[in-house]
Amino acid sequence: MKPAPFEYARPETVEEVLSILAEHGDEAKILAGGQSLVPLLNFRMLRPAILVDVNRVAALDFLEVDGDILRVGALTRHLSLELSDAVRTRLPVLRRAMEHVAHVAIRSRGTIGGSLSHADPAAELPMMARLLDARIHVRNSGGERVVDAADFFLAPLTTSLEPEDLVTEVRLSLPPQGSGWAFEEYAQRSGDFAFAAVSAVVEAPEGRIEDIRLAAMGVDETPVRLDAIEEELRGRVLDGRLVDGAVELARQSVNPNTDLKASAEHRRHLMGVLTRRVITQAVGRTGKAAA
């Protein structure tokens, strides 16, 4: 388990990174937290000619609230998100999600840019990107573009990024104060990749659902937004029949895989259970201040 030989570059500015990426194209691989990349290198499942270590690019490491937007630099560590006051007070759903990302040691290294670029279909940050309508800022030597999370994740471990692209920033939309939220995950052990997870943010000030966002992961090729259920619930007051309908829709709307740990049928079952819990909890939390 030693990696195949590779060159190593450690640029300190975004411009340097982009020029190295432009030069080497798909022969290059960006090293951020390394929590997924390094094992793949050691198993020799990836053999980049050059590793571009972005850990010294200070300009990518920031976290700030800008109006109703949370701006997150691509190099922001998972632990910084988890411990951030802004996240705790304005995005409790994200904070809860971060607690499910592996273990503290891994969270202290892993980055948001790395997690989104890696695009594991059972990883929390890609799911949060879908839930919170992330706008992903991508740069290459030709310029910058902004990609909606909806257009970013294409397939397992596959995004719309080109080899010379670098994710520089992720903008998450902050729900209005008093929004309800919920996050439920089933994993075999704490910190494991989820068999399934569902999350929600909801605005229902007078008991009537004005807006709701629902996302799930581990149950499809990519993290998914549950648009059809959102549509069903919008403008309605929650009752048992409505929830039952949403649960049934949730089970039908995903396409889970069977793998070593769980069958598609099992994941679909969990999808139903977790959807029920999340909708109920999120609506129940509406109007309550964050912890």
Binding site: M1, A4, R44, R189, S190, S263, H266, H269, V273
Partner: protein, 805 residues
């Protein structure tokens, strides 16, 4: 026989000086090895880097079963930085295959070549060794080796491997069954027919890997000047490896030294001889180079000996009153590709049938076992050996019978456990239990958890729709076994004795040499505690040496819950002999008679007088200060003794698990876990607790998480720790422990072995608790680990069955 002097000493009138001193045995002494282990100052095998060391990497088989047509190493050999590339041909004539022989009837001993010759039989089998300047270059060169294979049909399912016409894994063997055995007492068919109640099941425990924190590693150093070999290895059995290498390499034992330095866990996985050790030793001698190999986690997962892979069909017959009448069990043990040295692949499955009747009166028994070879990594000893499965099966059958009879599971057990007055009790399979806390452990466990209250809590929970389950497992095991019983059936090596040399040197310091090899058990501390009490020395005056074949003439290592009993016994006997010498010298120096002397804290005192002499002065007078002692009194203050507990002793325990299953997600949470155990006299309660905690954690792994999976082609699909999942801190609840000392066994010191019990009881207790929790669904857990997917399937299938009924 109970050793009278030692028992006297604790029970004697404490009014006399000396006997008032706090004894070390029984105290929560902090582990002497921990400062170095916790501060990064320990020396593990991988810390060793001899000058000009050459690093080895193995090209391993990608196929489960294939004939090797050709191996082309030319490109790899030509790579810069590569020192040599070796195949089976390079070992031809210098080292033969490893064969675990046995006197067992109709047993077939497989031939395992350190580097595969002609055929490969499991994915991960070493085929080629690359020797290079560093491990990186060695791994680069592995990719340049071209091996041409003729792929053969893989043997993955042990039942299919049994079938007529199945391809033979070892062509020279008559079948894929390397051994079969039957234990029988009484007429099973008649007894079963007579039984008023019969319960039966098909039980499965899935293959596990020991997963020590430190991967296997070894360093071979050939001293060309002295024509001597030192192998430093992460082994639990340096003495066995030394003896085997001396034989395989045709060298005298004085020229082969096997050292196990600090070793980071073994759990049985480091308790066998490995091809890598033999290959490095042979190649180091041949090439006159120091060689080092440190396996990575992938290699560890695919090539370290695995365990617990059995399929058991069993039936239990009882009277209407709940008295066991008969037990019938058929066991298929999947031993993997080779019969491991020295234990053989038969040891694990045979233990399943030997121990199946458990701590109960089973008048009529039939146990049949077949050990089948398949295309998987070889199985070997793994903490618990056989008994986790036998206990799982028997304890499930007991719960199933209790349910049928409408009896509480505790009540049914109490009606059948061997009672105090029945010891020694001869088990139908031939094992003899000496008295241990069979009934007492069950009663103590029930009292400690307040069993009646737990059942009430369960009734309330059920009424609320919660799935709460309580599971009990009572078991007995043989530990500290002596020469009467072979650790493995028919094995030609003696594992029933251990030796110790205790020596006071000219500075008055005590050094004790042992043949055992502590690898996490804290034996440097516990053995020092035993010696300190015996000698009257201070702990800090004693250094315990172990893990080195040169320390004793014969010693086999640390495994099978034997070290406290055997090494503790040998150390005790040696220390007594040394103390006699010390007192003779002291008597002369103090002008007192030996009977009036007592030793403690490194001094010999005259009882009732204010006169003493230190061990240091005694040693000086004996060895250095000419003229203080008459010539005939001077002697070496040392002694070597061997201890053989002959039968060994029974260790018993009861485990209680309380689980709750989420009625919607079916997620299992372990709410409580309690162990009531009897390990005889406790040397260090902290270490005993640690052993229980660690072994229960591994039992939780066997019950809920850990499973080595091979796909239909024989590829291992759990070759990383993302796929082979073990319980981590978050998955292990607080474990409560009740220590019992019903009656001390007849071992020297009154110790029983206790390192494996947690793994033996926990899977059964958890399986019973889960079955109890899930009983509203009408399902029972018979297949471990009970992974989320298995539980989901059980419940879904029960639901479907109900719907279609």
């Amino acid at each position: 026989m109970t050793d009278p002097t030692l028992l006297d000493r604790v029970t004697k009138d404490p009014g006399e000086a000396g006997e008032m001193r706090p004894r070390s045995v029984g105290a929560r002494v902090r582990r002497l090895e921990d400062p170095r282990l916790l501060s990064g100052r320990a020396r593990f095998t991988d810390d060793l880097e001899p000058r000009n060391c050459v690093h080895v990497a193995f090209r391993r088989s990608d196929h489960a079963h294939a004939r090797i047509l050709s191996v082309d190493v030319s490109e790899a050999s030509a790579m810069p930085g590569v020192v040599a590339v070796c195949t089976a041909a390079d070992l031809e004539g210098i080292v033969g295959p490893i064969r675990a022989t046995s006197r067992m009837k109709d047993y077939f001993a497989t031939s395992m070549h350190p580097l595969a010759r002609d055929k490969v039989r499991y994915v991960g089998e070493p085929v080629v060794a690359v020797l290079a300047e560093n491990r990186y270059l060695a791994e680069d060169a592995l990719e340049l080796i071209n091996i041409e294979y003729d792929v053969l049909e893989p043997l993955v399912d042990p039942e299919a491997a049994l079938a007529d016409g199945a391809p033979l894994l070892h062509e020279e063997a008559p079948s894929n069954v390397i051994a079969s055995r039957t234990f029988a007492r009484g007429e099973i068919d008649a007894a079963m027919a007579e039984a008023e109640i019969r319960v039966s099941g098909r039980f499965r425990m899935r293959r596990k890997t020991p997963l020590a924190m430190e991967n296997r590693a070894c360093v071979a150093e050939w001293d060309a000047g002295r024509r001597a070999l030192t192998l430093t290895s992460t082994t639990q059995i340096p003495g066995i490896v030394r003896d085997a290498l001396a034989e395989l390499l045709e060298m005298p034992g004085h020229s082969v030294r096997v050292v196990a330095p600090d070793v980071g866990g073994g759990f049985g996985g480091k308790g066998s001889l490995y091809g890598e050790e033999v290959a490095l030793a042979a190649l180091s001698r041949k090439l006159e180079l120091p060689l080092k190999w440190t396996s990575d986690r992938l290699e560890d997962l695919i090539s370290t000996s695995q365990g617990f892979d059995e399929l058991v069909e069993a039936e239990l017959g009882l009277t209407r009153d709940g008295a066991i009448m008969a037990l019938n069990a058929d066991v298929i043990g999947d031993i993997g590709a080779y019969s491991i040295y020295p234990w053989t692949g038969v040891m694990e499955p045979v233990q399943v049938v030997s121990f199946m009747p458990g701590p109960y009166r089973v008048p009529v028994y039939r146990g049949h076992v077949r050990a089948v070879s398949t295309c998987k990594a070889p199985t070997g000893p793994y903490r618990g050996v056989g008994r986790p499965i036998s206990t799982f099966v028997m304890e499930r059958l007991m719960d199933m019978a209790a349910e049928r009879l409408g009896l509480d599971p505790v009540e049914l057990r109490l009606r059948n456990l061997v009672r105090a007055e029945e010891f020694p009790y001869r088990v139908a399979s031939g094992i003899v239990w000496d008295r241990s806390s069979f009934v007492e452990s069950l009663e103590a466990a029930c009292e400690a958890v307040d069993y009646a209250a737990l059942r009430r809590e369960q009734a309330v929970a059920r009424a609320e729709g919660r799935l709460l389950g309580i599971g009990i497992a009572t078991y007995a095991e043989l530990t500290g076994i002596g020469s009467r019983i072979s650790a493995a059936p028919g094995m030609p090596i003696n594992t029933g004795t251990e030796s110790a040399t205790v020596r006071i040197d000219s500075t008055g310091a005590v050094t004790a040499n042992f043949g055992i090899a502590s690898h996490g058990q804290g034996l440097e501390t516990t053995l020092a505690q035993v010696l300190a009490d015996e000698l009257g020395a201070r702990l800090e005056d004693i250094r315990v040496l172990h893990g080195d074949s040169s320390l004793v003439a014969h010693g086999t290592g640390t495994y099978a819950s034997r070290s406290a009993v055997l090494a503790g016994g040998a150390g005790t006997l040696s220390a007594r002999a040394v103390k006699d010498k010390v007192l003779r010298v002291a008597a002369h120096l103090l002008e007192a008679s030996v009977e009036d002397l007592v030793a403690h804290d490194g001094f010999v005192h005259v009882r009732g007088a204010n006169r003493n002499v230190s061990f240091r002065e005694i040693a000086k007078a004996n060895y250095s200060d000419m003229g203080r002692l008459p010539k005939e009194l001077r002697e070496d203050l040392s002694s070597t003794k061997t201890y053989d507990p002959f039968f060994g002793t029974a260790t018993a325990a009861t485990h209680v698990a309380v689980v709750e299953v989420d009625p919607e997600t079916y997620q299992v949470s372990l709410r409580r876990f309690l162990v009531a155990e009897d390990c005889g006299r406790i040397i260090n309660p902290m270490i005993v607790d640690g052993q229980v905690h660690g072994a229960v954690a591994q039992g939780i792994g066997a019950a809920l998480y850990e499973e080595v999976v091979y796909d239909a082609t024989g590829q291992m699909v759990t070759a990383s720790l993302a796929d082979y999942v073990v319980p981590a801190a978050g998955e292990v609840p607080r474990i409560d422990i009740v220590h019992l000392e019903a009656e001390l066994p007849s071992t020297v010191g009154g110790f029983r072995g206790m390192g494996e019990g947690g793994t033996i009881g926990a899977p059964a207790a958890i399986a019973n608790a889960l079955s109890d929790a899930l009983s509203p669904f009408g399902v029972a857990v018979c297949d471990l680990p009970a992974t989320p997917e298995r539980i989901f399937r059980l419940i879904e299938n029960a639901g479907k069955a109900k719907a279609s009924a």
